[in-house]
Amino acid sequence: MQERFILKVEDLTVSFDGFKAVDALSFYVEPNECRVIIGPNGAGKTTVLDLICGRTKATAGSVKFHDQELLTMREDQIVNAGVGRKFQTPSVYEDLTVFENLELSYPKGHSVFGALVFKRDTDVRARIKEIAETIFLADQLDEKAAFLSHGQKQWLEIGMLLIQDPELLMLDEPVAGMSVAERKKTAELLNRIIQDRSVIVIEHDMGFVADIATRVTVLHQGKTLSEGSMERVQNDPKVVEVYLGH
């Protein structure tokens, strides 16, 4: 039987020296849902993703992915369980080529021994090529990531996630800092890759949000301000007041 929720976040709290960046937050994500989290700067959006993927340790609460408690797991264990994360600022391996960046993210040979004997076989090459085409970088495979444009780095990082083929994909402002043309291409790309998996996206671009969101969660001072369809959230007076109004 299909479970009702792929991710259950309950009473999630983190306190930085008394300041509660995320405060008793609960939300649930269904399989194949695309959840968008919006909210003003400093609302705690990035911190929520940090907590789910193990980068920041929670003070209290629970995060269950398929009934596995993520809060007690190490970052790499969470990734290997099927949760992928894209960071707000593009973070790729600058000293390595695009090919190597994708290769390191390929979900094989992740133990010490596995990495020592890992072979670039035809499957690996084919998959990397396929991903590179998806992220518009097929011609840059041998280029060092340091030489890519900001937008290209964002794409590369998305590609690094795609090759992991996560069940739950978390994207932190994937179109931020992009040119209009890049933005359009990225929206297209994201629309394609969010099919057949659950996605949590943080985004400010409302047009983009309306386009992709199954449901929207509005975060304010670490708490849920409103939740529901884009329409409902947009017409919520509380949301208009703290976020959409200005």
Partner: protein, 374 residues
């Protein structure tokens, strides 16, 4: 697509040049005293190659590699000392048959932990295993707690200090500040003769190449690229699904194993092992060998060890008290002027000109290692 060949053409030339230097040029040009001296320098190259992986590739700066060099060296020295301490050789002692320094310290029995060193296979095993076990313990304690960077460097430095103090303090068990001296034969073969020293020089050279090939394999494997990724973006590597601590522990242990082999070859070629090779100063010197060679390059590490030690011998013969300043100055100069060390000077300045002279296209800068093959 990318080439994953074990040695690119350029690297092949580099390995061949070094082999020619070590196996042909040095033995032909140097008398047996100087050859032995160069053999000694090359034992430090084992450590420097390990550092090129740990520090250069992986960004893990250890200021305590002398510990592993020393442990390997002591394991070898213990075997040789036991072989030299036959009851006949030590008949004037109050307890014949134990090493002389034990007798001087009123020990009347060989300590239990010395017993395995009667066996050469066990001693050779220990040469690698003891440093690796130590590195493993330090690695697990530090890396799983995510201690890194300067903190890690300082802690390894502390280990070097502690081990030195322990060795000096436990004179009856370790030979104290003098170390383990008066080593004579290896399974009856006198290691003090000129011929033996020349043979050992070649054994050392072969082992060094074995270590270089192992290091090259690691560099060329996915693990090598992971190290570079970890050095620049450790956090990101975790989110690619790797347990970063395990990889750091592995590379630190590998560096320790290399250092242990180097230490054992030092003992064999120089004929003693002492705490002066374990402590803080030699550990820092080893990092300087690696930095001068160019910390990213395993071949550079060998040249760094050769050059700095040769300079040390030359200068400290004439100005012994100035050497430390010279070394410090050299280190600063390298860091400021040639951050990629000798290897950088070679690949940026000399090699392109050499290739131009030979009528070839200049080196392709964007792909220094894995030149495109398809």
């Amino acid at each position: 697509m990318q080439s994953s060949a074990f040695l690119s053409r350029k690297e092949m030339i580099g390995f061949a040049l070094l082999a020619a230097l070590i196996f042909i040029v040095f033995p032909m040009m140097l008398d047996s005293f100087r050859l032995n001296l160069f053999g000694k320098y090359l034992t430090y190259a084992f450590v420097a190659v390990g550092l090129a992986l740990c520090w250069g590739a992986g960004g893990i700066l250890s200021l305590g590699q002398g510990v592993f060099f020393g442990l390997g060296g002591y394991c070898m020295a213990m075997f040789l000392k036991l072989e030299a301490s036959t009851p006949e050789n030590t008949s004037i002692q109050s307890t014949p048959g134990i090493p002389d320094f034990m007798d001087w310290n009123q020990l009347t029995e060989l300590p239990v932990w010395w017993q395995p060193f009667y066996s050469l296979p066990l001693a050779l095993f220990a040469v690698v295993a003891v440093p690796v076990v130590f590195a493993f313990i330090i690695g697990v304690a530090m890396f799983t707690r995510r201690v890194g960077g300067v903190y890690f460097a300082i802690i390894t430095q502390a280990f070097a200090a502690i081990l030195t103090i322990l060795i000096i303090g436990q004179q009856g068990y370790t030979g104290g500040v003098n170390g383990i001296t008066d080593l004579r034969t290896l399974l009856g073969w006198d290691i003090r003769t000129d011929e033996a020293k020349t043979t050992l020089y070649f054994v050392n050279g072969v082992l060094l190449f074995a270590v270089l090939f192992a290091a090259q394999y690691v560099r060329k494997s996915k693990l090598g690229r992971l190290l570079i990724a970890m050095r620049d973006q450790e956090d990101r590597v975790r989110f690619s699904g790797y347990n970063v601590a395990n990889f750091k522990i592995f590379i630190f242990c590998l560096g320790a194993a290399f250092a242990g082999i180097g230490g054992a070859m030092f003992t064999l070629q120089v004929g003693f092992m002492s705490p002066t090779l374990v402590g803080i100063v030699p550990s820092i010197e080893m990092v300087i060998f690696c930095a001068v060679g160019g910390r990213l390059s395993i071949l550079g590490a060998v040249y760094g060890a050769l050059l700095v030690n040769w300079a040390k011998t030359t200068f400290s013969e004439s100005f012994p008290e100035l050497w430390l300043f010279g070394l410090g100055g050299l280190f600063i100069a390298v860091v400021m002027l040639f951050p990629n060390g000798l290897a950088g000077v070679w690949s940026e300045k000399i090699e392109p000109r050499l290739l131009a002279l030979l009528g070839k296209a200049p080196a392709d800068k964007s792909a220094p290692d894995g030149a495109p093959a398809e």
